[in-house]
Structure formats: C-alpha cells, structure tokens
Amino acid sequence: MTGNVIIDAAILLGIVGLTAAIILYFVSKVFKVIEDPRIDEIAAVLPGANCGGCGYPGCRTLAEAIVKAGSIEGIFCPVGGEKTAQKIADILGISAASAEPKIAVIRCNGSCENAPAKSFYDSTLSCAFAHSLFAGESACAYGCLGCGDCAAACKFNAIYIDKLTKLPVIVEEACVACGICVTTCPRNIIELRNRGKNGKRVYVTCRNQEKGAWAKKNCNVACIGCGKCAKACQFEAITLTNNLAYIDYTKCKLCKKCVSECPTQAITAVNFPAPKKEKIEVSTTSEE
C-alpha cells in the first residue's frame, strides 16, 4: 500500500510539473520582454555603487538611460570617470568626449582659529537643523557649520571633519566627484572643480557675501570683496559678485598671483610645491 502511495504521488507530481513546464515554456516565448543586451553590458562596466552621482537613482537606470539615448552626451558617471565613459562608448560604438576629472572643494576656511566661536552649539549634529536655528558658532551666516552633513552623506568615505579646525576635509584619492555633498550642504559651500594638473587648484575659500566690514567681523580669512584679485588676474578668470570673488576654473592658469594679492588670505592654492598654510594644516591632522 505504502509503495503505491509513493508511486502515485510521484506520477501525479511529475504530470503537474511537466504541464507547468510546458505552459511556462510557451508563456516565456509569447511574452518575452526584448531587452537590449547592451543595458546589461553597460551596467556591468559601471561601478555599481548606486550612489546617484549621475542624477539617476542607480547604475542600472543610468545604463537604461544611456542605451535609450544612444549617446553619452550630457550623461556622465562621475565615479567611473573617463575610463568608464570610454568603455560605455565602446559598447555603444561611439566615441567618448573627454571630460576633465573633478573633485569637491570646501569653500570655507572658517576654522576655530580663523573664525572664533561666539556662541556654543550643543544640539543635534545636523547642518540642516543648525542652519535653520542660527548663523553658526562664529556668527558667519555663510560659513561651514561643521556638523558634518557632507561627511555623513558621502558614500565613498572621502570627507571627514577635522577635529582641530572643525572643517570638512576632502580625501583627494577617495573623492569621485559624485556631487552628493554639494547638494547636501545647506550653505552651498562645496563645489565640484577640475582636479587640475597634478592636483593643483586655486580657489576662493569663502562664501561670505556681506560687505567687507561685516565679513571681517566674524572671520579673519573672509573674502571682503575688495577686488584686488580680479585686477591682478591676467586671464580674466576672477569675477566679483555680491562682494565675493569667484575663480573660474576653466580660465584659471594657476599662476597664483591672486593668492599673494589677497589681503585676507581668502584664496587657497593646494598641491603646489612650496610650503603652504594649507599643507601645514593637513600635516597636523594626519599626526592626529
């Protein structure tokens, strides 16, 4: 009797399985979704971090968008950079336009020393919240709040808050210029700029749009909007809007004339061979 039950069950399940297999086979033939094989190929060469730096929710959606558009014009994976762009172009059979590699820069130098604290903040470590509450410990309404929203948002561990200066520091090797820190910062302090030759960059480390006297009141290294740098620049790379200088990185030739001209040291040059203030700061933190 028991033997019969097992055989019966085996036959019954076998028939059910076979019927289901036949149905599934035909269904898969009839309702087949024809997907471009290139989507899979492109998705494979993308970094797969789903960081959203390209503006799409994830790497696969980016791949779909690229295949749909048929070109990579205006679409760029900042993490993969040019190598990935080249690979994608190869898959699509087009030529990739070259894009300069970029890096995030912190446009504030209001460290504890440069911009002494006038009040003390002990609430939630959230820049977004602190920004809604008050101007900041240094009373500069444009400067870094130092709560580290950017560091928390970074998916590549490329930002940390320096304990001494209370300012964020970009880890150059780790930054992939995805730009999430730029959108996270409530004060628009972070900017994506060209990495520059050998990592050399010159930029204004201030966002203060107040007139000189007010800017200088809260921070020793604030841009006072005097315009000396703009006059000194031979390449018309520096513009002055709302009492604030801005260096256009596409025009800047890294001559550093503006750096020596600035009366408040609001312009920072990094990765230049001579000893710099910036270098000293970096070395103290690495000792920590």
Partner: protein
C-alpha cells in the same frame, strides 16, 4: 476641569515670577526694529535716515496679505535702515531710531481710563487691528487681522481665548489677566463683533486660580463670555488642543480652526486688541518675563519694541553659571545665539537656564519604550518620524503625518535616551513642506 485627551506632559511649572507686577522698562536711548517681527512676509520700511518719528507712527507697512504694520515705539530720529544681526545671528533689515523725548501721536488715547463702549463697526474693528499691527502674542506672532478675514461660507461659533500659558516659567499672560482683565474682556467683545460669533470661551490652566477667579468674576457682566478652568498640562495652550479642550471639536489634519467654527487668540493679544480698538494705540510694546531658577531678579517687564537685549540683561544681571538664555519658554523657545540683538513683538521671556540644566544628555539608542508616542498630543509616532527624517525619506514622512507636528517638544522632553527627536522632525517637516509646495506647482 476641561482638558484634551491625547498625549501631553506635565513639566515642572516654575512660575517663579507670578507675584511680580508688570513693570515698565525705561525707554532706551536707541531702538532697533526688525521688519520681520511677525510670521509672513517682511514689512516694507517707509522711513529713511534723518526722518523724525513720533511714538506710534507707522514706520513699515504690510504690502502682502500675511504681514503686519510696524510702528515706532519711541519718538526721535531715524539713524539708519539697514540689516542688523538678529537673535539667531542672521542679518535682517531693521530700522534704527535714536530716542528723543517721548512724544506720542495725537490720535492715540494715552489716558489710563478704561473705555468700555465699542463704537466701531465690524469692518472698522478688523481694519483697526490691521492698521495697529497687532500680531498673536502667544509666540507665533501670526498677524491677527488675517484670522478675521473669514471666508463667506464659514461661520464662527466660538472665539477661543488662550489664557492657559502652559509654558513653564512664563507669567506675562497671568499678570495681564490679573492687572488688565477688564480691558482684555473688552478686547474679547471687539473680537466677538469682528467675527460675528455668539460666544467666547476663555481657558485658564488650574495653576492660576487667582486669574481664573478674577476673570470669572469680571466675565459675569458679559453673558457671551465664559471662563473655563483647564487641567495643568502641556501643551494645553496649543491651538488645536485648546479647541478640543474647550469645545470638544477636532480640527481636521492640515486645516485651520475656522474649519470647525473657531478662532483662537491669546489673552495678551486681546489686551493689544483693546488698546488698538479703544485707544487707537498700535502694538509697540512686548511683555517679557525675566526668570530662571537662579535669576538675580524676577521681573515681568513691559518693554518697548527694539530695546536692546543686552541692555535688559545688564539691568537684571546674568546669574553665574548660566548655560543658555532662552527666549520664549523652555519648551518651544530658542536659546539666544546673539545677545546683541533687540526685542521683537511676542518675545515673552528671557530665561536664565543653569549650565547643568541646559546641557543635553548623551544620546543613546532608542529602547522602544514608546514614551514619545504616549506624549505626542497630535497622536504621531515621533520615533518613527525621527528615523524617516534622518533617512531623508520625506514621502514616508508625509504619509506618517509629519506636517501635523506642532513642534511642542513633548516627545523629546520625556525621552529616556535623550534622542533629539524634535530637532530632526523639524528638519523633516521643513523639507517635507518644501516638497509638498513644489509638487503642487
């Protein structure tokens, strides 16, 4: 004794200054008036440097609907009209006036005689409230006249007057009720005319029995004003909670009190309305409690707007070991980041909080005790909203009713893990609100 049902807490009352009669703070040498003393758009200055002004003269006008007029609280010369850092340290446009004498506008009745009879008609009263720049003095500073622009399809059944003063320490409403109760009730009469409501209900927390008895006695001459005793429970004075306590009606989510036929005003606002309607006196003063467990002097001051905070602080003296100076109540108020600022409308207190008390506890993991859920008077789940706001999931935040949060702080008050619930909920509410506004466009 009436109360609302959901949530609520009972913090230490600390009404230390309740016996101190209201004192007039001396007129300062210079005042600085921010054009953003109210909720809504900033008002537009109509004076320039060098202009002579009198007390009560209009110096900035309301150009948009939700905005309030601003009047000079002193007589003198306008020095400058330019941005000045406010309490938060952000610079806001302000009018600075050097004080000379104390010459009032002739149209203002400066006598102390109580004028009982209201001669103005309904539209005139609303117009007068608007002209005099009256804003809600309960803390939010919402322009009062806007509340009385009642849509034609709505009927007002009750004027609700908030005498709860549920915030610890603050005692200005209490003192106003005791010292100017009669004027307040005339103000309520004016509001009844302005709204066409048949009845006004005043709610006073049980911890102010003297004010309750005083107002009840005074109200006996008005058949349309009823005074109720409320349970001492925070946030009894919140708009929606107060309506629930006094009428049993519930304001639907995302709607205004007018939806259930109610308009809510603070008791001090009714005094300002009395002065505006009966004396034609604009809102040029603020009532401020100076208090704190170790405060050198306890005071209830009547201060002209634009008086420097540091001047008041040097008069009363800052006690030792003060960690924070809080303006506007320990529950909903903010610590002052910049004391070189100036008094604004509705700034109801300067509290000296001890360093030990002002410090936040060490934040630990949520232990799922549910205290925040029990405490929330809006029936929300603060721990969840906190998590969603931290994750920047604003769609979910909206689904879980973050926009209903009244930011009373009851959740954070009782949290045994010292989690900064309200801080992140505020961020989330802000971002969710922005998301909703941009979506509908």
């Amino acid at each position: 004794m009436k109360t609302f049902k959901i949530g609520g807490i009972h913090p230490e009352e600390n009404k230390l200054a309740k016996e101190e009669a209201i004192e007039v703070f001396p007129i300062p040498k210079q005042v600085t008036l921010f054009v953003t003393q109210h909720l809504g758009a900033p008002s537009t200055p109509i004076v320039q440097a060098g202009d002579k002004v009198k007390v009560g003269q209009l110096v900035a006008t309301a150009q948009t609907l939700v905005c309030a007029n601003l009047h000079s609280p002193v007589s003198g010369t306008v020095v400058k009209v330019e941005p000045v850092p406010d309490m938060t340290g952000y610079r806001k446009l302000a009018i600075t006036i050097d004080v000379e004498d104390d010459i009032w506008e002739e149209t203002i009745d400066t006598t102390s005689e109580i004028r009982k009879e209201i001669t103005l008609t309904k539209p005139e009263i609303i117009e007068r409230i608007k002209a005099c720049g009256v804003v809600g003095l309960g803390g939010a500073c919402f322009p009062t006249h806007v509340k009385y622009m009642i849509p034609p399809d709505k009927k007002v059944d009750y004027i609700i007057i908030n005498g709860a003063e549920c915030e610890p320490y603050i005692t200005t409403d209490h003192r106003i009720m005791l010292e100017n109760g009669e004027e307040c009730l005339i103000g309520v009469q004016a509001l009844l005319i302005a709204s066409g409501a048949p009845e006004a209900r005043i709610g006073i927390e049980a911890n102010k029995p003297d004010a309750f008895e005083h107002l009840q006695r005074l109200a006996s001459q008005y058949p349309n004003i009823k005074v109720f005793k409320l349970k001492t429970k925070y946030p009894q004075g919140a708009e929606k909670q107060l309506i629930k306590s006094l009428t049993g009606r519930e304001v639907p989510n995302g709607k205004l009190p007018i939806e259930v036929g109610c308009i809510v005003n603070n008791i001090t606002t009714t005094y300002a309305i009395y002065e505006a309607v009966q004396k034609n006196k604009p809102l040029i003063e603020t009532y401020t409690t100076i208090s704190g467990k170790r405060a050198k002097t306890l005071k209830n001051y009547k201060i002209r707007l634009g008086t420097s905070i540091s001047e008041v602080l040097s008069t009363v003296g800052i006690p030792e070991n003060t960690g924070k100076i809080v303006s506007g109540g320990p529950m909903m108020g903010k610590a002052i980041a910049n004391i070189n600022s100036y008094f604004v409308k509705g700034m109801s207190s300067l509290l000296f909080i001890d360093e030990s008390e002002s410090k936040r506890g060490v934040v630990e993991e949520c232990i799922r005790c549910g205290k925040c859920v029990t405490a929330c008077p809006m029936g929300l789940e603060p721990y969840l909203l906190y998590a969603l706001a931290t994750r920047a999931d604003y769609e979910e935040c909206e689904k879980h009713g973050i926009m209903n949060c009244i930011e009373c702080g009851s959740c954070q008050y009782g949290c045994p893990a010292f989690r900064p619930l309200l801080d992140m909920i505020r961020v989330g509410k802000n971002k969710t609100g922005y998301m909703i506004r941009t979506r509908n466009k």
